[in-house]
């Protein structure tokens, strides 16, 4: 087993990885730059290394050098940054440091998204119709031709990387000319590669993924599916397992297809196979994520398996130690992402110092975060502040615990999406589990407050007025007042 792991990430996922390393008796080295010095991951590690600039989180050569200098025998990349860069994996391999993830060869293969789609289709699994190749911004005419041949609606996707960057839904031909340049530049900014490819769009749809774990001895096991249909500003905000709308037959089919794809692509460690489910109930494979995902705790809550530990063990060459029959998928789990975002300012990141940060507790609940009272929320990084995960035997039970947890979360100093999350999880089609990608296009219900409590809140407002000595005229953010649909599609217009 490894002696020292360099955690090449920051924030909540760095905290998450460090905790498992401690459980396993592995030393950790954390990274920070001046803006995230106060993040919890720096305090929890055995050693920490200052980066002269935040851009070094993206710098493969610098990270390999740091790993060498501190004597790390493995690097955990977390998610984002360099988690799926085959060049980084190769640089680690060449330096004799274990990259905790797939081999550089395997990563290089799945990084070619079109070749991956073709390979999966050749194995007899449905994939969306797509363009034959990817196009640079300079190849506008070729892109336009490909779009005409594919037909509308379609999705523009970045060829390198994912996480919604560069992804655009194009409903009709007239929109393509407007959207393509934005998508090219978003992809260029996010991944240093402006190439885009096209995929047929399914409307409405549901977005599903199956968690796989595999070792280097030929064992491959699925750990059930997760739904990630509900998104805001192209990013998932709510995830749950099991997907509430699937029949048992559909579910079994989905798991089988995921395992077939996993075997085909040689998945080791943790891997997620993503699917889209159309309105007729047909699955299509879309992408593979060869890294730990933000929503992995949902699966951990149901299976009791520490996915980061599994990932580390597999990277060290150990066998999985369990088979499909040993895996029990218990009850229901749901996760919400609490982001430091300002509802009054288009949900842009809201950095600052957390004056108060008190997270919920109680049975069946887990909170993953890098934050605490007094901690800074840095300007330049992902606004993800905390993940709240609730578990119970039934979906209604898990939802009840999640609602309580979100209501109890006390955060001041930065703005957050807490009230948006409250409205989402109280929406009738979320409660019934019948939602699809149109969820975000409908207005959300407001808070329901008993009459007596409304009166009490009026008293609170009166006292707040007297203490502050100011008048007010009420204002709520557009999206909280009248729906949040304009900015909240899976695939932005």
């Amino acid at each position: 087993m490894f002696r020292t792991i360099l955690v090449a990430n920051r924030g909540e996922i760095a905290v998450r990885i460090i905790r498992t390393c401690r459980d396993m008796g592995i030393q950790t080295v954390a990274l920070y730059d001046d803006s995230d010095l106060s993040s919890l991951h720096v305090r929890l590690a055995d050693e920490c290394v200052r980066l002269s600039s935040g851009t070094l989180y993206h710098d493969a050569a610098a990270l390999v050098q740091i790993a060498r200098d501190c004597g790390a025998d493995a690097i955990h990349p977390g998610y984002g940054f360099l988690a799926e860069h085959d060049e980084f994996a190769r640089a680690c391999e060449e330096a004799g440091i274990v990259f905790i993830g797939p081999s550089s060869v395997a990563l290089g293969k799945v990084r070619d998204k079109i070749a991956t789609l073709e390979a999966v289709r050749a194995a007899g699994i449905a994939v969306p119709r797509h363009s034959p190749r990817a196009y640079h911004a300079s190849e506008w005419e070729a892109l336009q031709d490909a779009a005409e041949r594919l037909g509308y609606p379609l999705v523009l996707k970045s060829y390198s990387g994912g996480r919604g960057h560069g992804t655009r839904l194009v409903r009709e031909p007239a929109q393509l000319e407007d959207m393509a340049p934005h998508a090219h530049s978003a992809a260029q900014t996010a991944f240093g590669d402006d190439r885009l490819y096209l995929e047929e769009a399914f409307l409405p749809a549901r977005y599903l993924e199956v968690q796989l774990v595999g070792d280097r001895h030929g064992n491959l096991v699925h750990l059930g599916e997760r739904d990630g249909t509900i998104q805001h500003n192209h990013r998932k905000v709510v995830e749950e397992s099991p997907a509430p709308y699937l029949t048992d037959a559909q579910r079994g089919d989905l798991w089988r297809q995921a395992l077939t794809i996993g075997r085909l692509l040689g998945c080791t460690g943790v891997c997620t196979i993503e699917f889209v489910l159309d309105a007729q109930g047909r699955f299509s494979f879309t992408e593979i994520k060869a890294r730990i995902q933000v929503e992995h705790p949902v699966t951990e809550m149901r299976t009791g398996i520490d996915l980061v530990r599994t990932q580390i063990q597999v990277a060290a060459g150990e066998p999985l130690g369990f088979s499909q029959n040993d895996v029990t998928l218990r009850g229901c789990a749901m996760q919400v992402r609490i982001n430091a975002e300002d509802p009054w300012n288009h949900y842009l990141p809201s950095p600052g110092c957390l004056r108060r940060f008190r997270f919920p507790g109680g049975p069946g609940l887990r909170v993953d975060t890098y934050a605490y009272s007094g901690c800074d929320v840095p300007v330049h990084y992902d606004p993800l502040l905390a993940k709240v995960v609730a578990w119970d035997d039934t979906r209604a039970g898990a939802l009840g615990r999640l609602r309580r947890a979100v209501a109890d979360f006390a955060i001041s100093g930065v703005q957050t999406n807490l009230t948006l999350i409250q409205r989402i999880i109280n929406a009738p089609d979320f409660v019934s589990g019948t939602y699809d990608s149109d969820f975000g296009r409908r207005p959300l219900p407001g808070a329901e407050v008993p009459a007596e409590q409304i009166r009490d809140l009026a008293i609170a407002a009166a006292l707040a007025y007297i203490r502050r000595g100011i008048d007010s005229s009420g204002v709520l953010p557009d999206r909280a007042g009248s729906g949040w649909h304009r900015d909240s599609r899976k695939l932005p217009q």
Binding site: P351, G352, C353, R355, R356, V379, A407, D408, A410, I411, S412, G413, L418, T419, Q422, R423, G446, A447, E448, V449, Q453, I454, R455, D456, L457, A458, I459, A460, A461, A462, L463, A464, Y465, I466, R467, R468, G469, I470, D471, S472, S473, G474, V475, L476, A480, G481
Partner: protein, 164 residues
Amino acid sequence: MSKLSITIDGRTFVVETPPLRRITSEITVQVDGQPVNVLALETGSPELLDWLIVDGRPYELFVDPNLRWMRSRFGLHQVEVRDLEATVARPASGDGRIKAPIPGLITRVLVSPGETVELGQPLLVLEAMKMENEIRAPRSGRVAQVHVAPGQSVALGVVVAEVE
């Protein structure tokens, strides 16, 4: 006594309160003529989560510095406050009172009380997020008061100056 009209999520109440002390104290307020016992807890800063106990029911609140909304465990509430005693009414928002748009450090004060200023004229400089931000006059008039000095840190929403 203050007499206020409070509209919250579309429901309006008339709330009369005795003067508040800066320490935790039990008071009786009248809501639409009915007495209600309130334990008002001092938190020291208007930006912190406030909490209070009304008729034995505790409420933890996060209140907008401008009091346009507040968050309770039920969610977000729209708030509107009107002072019903015109003689003691404070000027409405959007007047000449200038509030810190972001928390930061006052680096320079460019005007003094009594000075005449034009609309858009820089009054002070607030440093936040490594950027200097000029705070400008929202209208032409006379500087009535400057509440801050260079080197002073200000919280979001604090009144820094007033222009009449």
